[in-house]
Amino acid sequence: MLPHSSDSLVRGVKFSPTRPARIALAGNPNSGKTSVFNALTGLRYKVANYPGVTVEKKEGKLALPNISHATLIDLPGSYSLDTYAFDEQIATSVLLGEFRGESAPDLIVAVVDSTNLERNLFFTSQLLDLGIPVVIALSMTDLAESQGISIRTEILSRLLGAPVVAICAKVKKGIESLRSEIENSLESHSTGVGFRWLSAAHALVTSVDRLADLATLLSPPVRHPKIHALSILSGSQVARSSELKVICEEEIERLRVLDVDAATIEATLRYQWIGKVVRQSTSAASAASRSLTQRLDAVLTHRVFGLMAFAAIMALMFQSIFVGASLPMEWIDMAVAWIGASAAEMLPEGQFRSLVVDGMIAGVGSVLIFIPQIAILFFFIGLLEDSGYLARAAYVTDRVMRKFGLQGRSFVPLLSSFACAIPGILSARTIPTLSDRFTTIMVAPLMSCSARLPVYSLLIAAFIPAYVVGGIFSLQGLVMLGLYLLGVVTAMLVASVLKLTVLRGEPAPFVMEMPLFRRPSLRVVVRNVLDRVLLFVQSAGTIILACSLVMWFLASYPRDVNIEQSYAGRIGHAIEPALAPLGLGWEVGIGIVASFAAREVFVSSLATVYNLGDDDTAPTSLLHVLNAQHASGEFTLAAALALLVFYVYACMCMSTLAVTRRETGSWSWTIFMFVYMTALGYGAALLTYQGALYFGLGGNVG
């Protein structure tokens, strides 16, 4: 290196104490990676997204005995560097130093689940090929011991050519030795050997060497000629030059003649090598203590009990979101109202007070109100994921979801959307395939959420007679059920259409690990809940707040007029021609415009409209007003049905749009969601009203 080279030139060459060391934490999903990350960082970390993509990025400070600045980056759980799964591709590009100009990490901590050594070592064997120092953290050693698996770490370390530290993350055993081993490897920069699995005698070696030699001549240079050689042989990457391509085809043909399939031989050789490594370093007594998982699986995936258990667990989760969140939501409502009232007392009357109280404080309230539901849902998902049940839920539901182009892992996000689409859309991250994730997000808001409930209740109470059908069912209840079903059926249809059109693609493999059942770690679960809530408040919250302010402005300006003459009221009047074919008037129009911010606002704005519009000074109950209008034929049953259908479909929740923007990383998808839902709402409402008129529901219903 030149003596006068600037610091920026040093960057990305080799670790030197002058800049913070970047250490990547890599490993299979369910390998205990999160526990190791938490223990190494002492829970001092930040969560963000990788720029431009919606894959979670966790970065924490790693305290080392002598090196003062080290950053630990938690990569998405991966099974392989060569992958089609979106999250795993991010992990691969970070490890290869190809992610947005970031240099490759200085060291990799590979977390290896000691109860599942062979499969975990597959990914590790790929990491060892990267030419970066690797420290292997053998996790869950306590569990392995209880299963009668004994691993001789010094032999394993010698065979793999990298230091191996046995840890049991839950009691912090071994974490200190892991720290010092990381520091040793950083200082010595010993990269190990790599490609030990590629036995010199195998025909593949000749092909790899020939292609790798050619690849080193490429310009721009490839970082890992041997890895490039392997990936063009297997067809997972395209050769970077035409010459390379020709030679590659030659080599594939040569291997084929020797009866070696280029696409599968690499994995086979790796696993053969791993098999030898494991046999030499490990002795397993008997697979006795898998019995917990076996006993639980006997029930939880049983033909009858499995479905019952699934229904019970989902019902419990759903009820908890619905019921458990209602009290904290009331508290938040009350607290926001109290703060608003206090602020109103302190501030002089005027525009500024209105901005602070009705705009800002109410806007912050509209962000905070979602927190209980998000927290409860992610608490449940955390428990289910950490205990191993989430994979079983996907296993049980896959058959049904697949009919609509979705998969088992879409079930929980869609179910939680009945409480609120926000946590539902956020939890779609548990779906590894991008097209399945997007489809799930796009249809999640069609599930009738709890914010529609006040609208449904009001209109049903006002317009649907309280008949009893068949002796037990109330007609009102049946209409309510019908509205929910309408949303579900439509969501499934839209999902099918999306998967057949815009989100079509090669069907993504379902192939999924079913982790062993274990007691979930409360620390991990609770911290995950906090991360989720914080992420929501930071990113979606700001958009929601901004939209609240816009809505406040529309409803309160120009100054000193009632709501009918406000901008919102004028928009309500302006859209009246569009509402007339639905049998609705401008009052409802204002309610609709106002509730584009959030559906539940419909009820309160309608109340405002009717109270302000009436000369009668006595406070009028909204239900009475609607009943009276119903009786007078001003507001018909047909129009009410149209309005209900409109609320089932129309995308009237800016928070949903804000979260969709964040989770898809795309305005186009967000706009698409708004347009398709609202168009569907309008079209279906039109059909309902005209249809109802045809069947004679337009007049007074006595």
């Binding site: 067809g235 696409a263 086979t268 053969q272 499995g306 058959r399 493999p509 192939v511 079913m514």
Partner: protein, 109 residues
């Protein structure tokens, strides 16, 4: 899959028997993984996955030539399937299992 069917299948595929290490010597019963009776262990002969994404995933999960798999069970609604391989549990759809060629090694139940 009944024995008769399996035998028929064997007859039609016999001529394609490869010399891979999983099939050394005499031709063995060759069926796809989804046809394996519940509780049966088998050895993987070939992953003839139709899509590169599926092939890649199966290989990295340890479904390689010569690997042993044990058919554990079926989801309540008849699909996907659950197998055990390398001491861990893996679930995959019937249609995916149909792309994996195996030979049964011994019946456990």
């Amino acid at each position: 899959m009944s024995e008769q069917n399996a035998q028929e299948h064997l007859n039609t595929t016999q001529s394609f028997t490869t010399q891979s290490f999983a099939t050394q010597g005499a031709a063995r019963l060759k069926i796809t993984l989804d046809k394996l009776p519940r509780g049966t262990a088998a050895q993987v002969l070939k992953v003839k996955a139709l899509s590169r994404a599926l092939q890649q995933r199966l290989l990295s999960m340890g479904i390689v030539e010569g690997a042993s798999v044990l058919f554990k069970g079926v989801a309540p609604l008849g699909d996907p399937l659950q197998i055990e391989t390398m001491g861990y549990l893996l679930s995959l759809r019937r249609s995916e299992a149909a792309q994996i060629e195996v030979t049964p090694i011994l019946a456990r139940s």
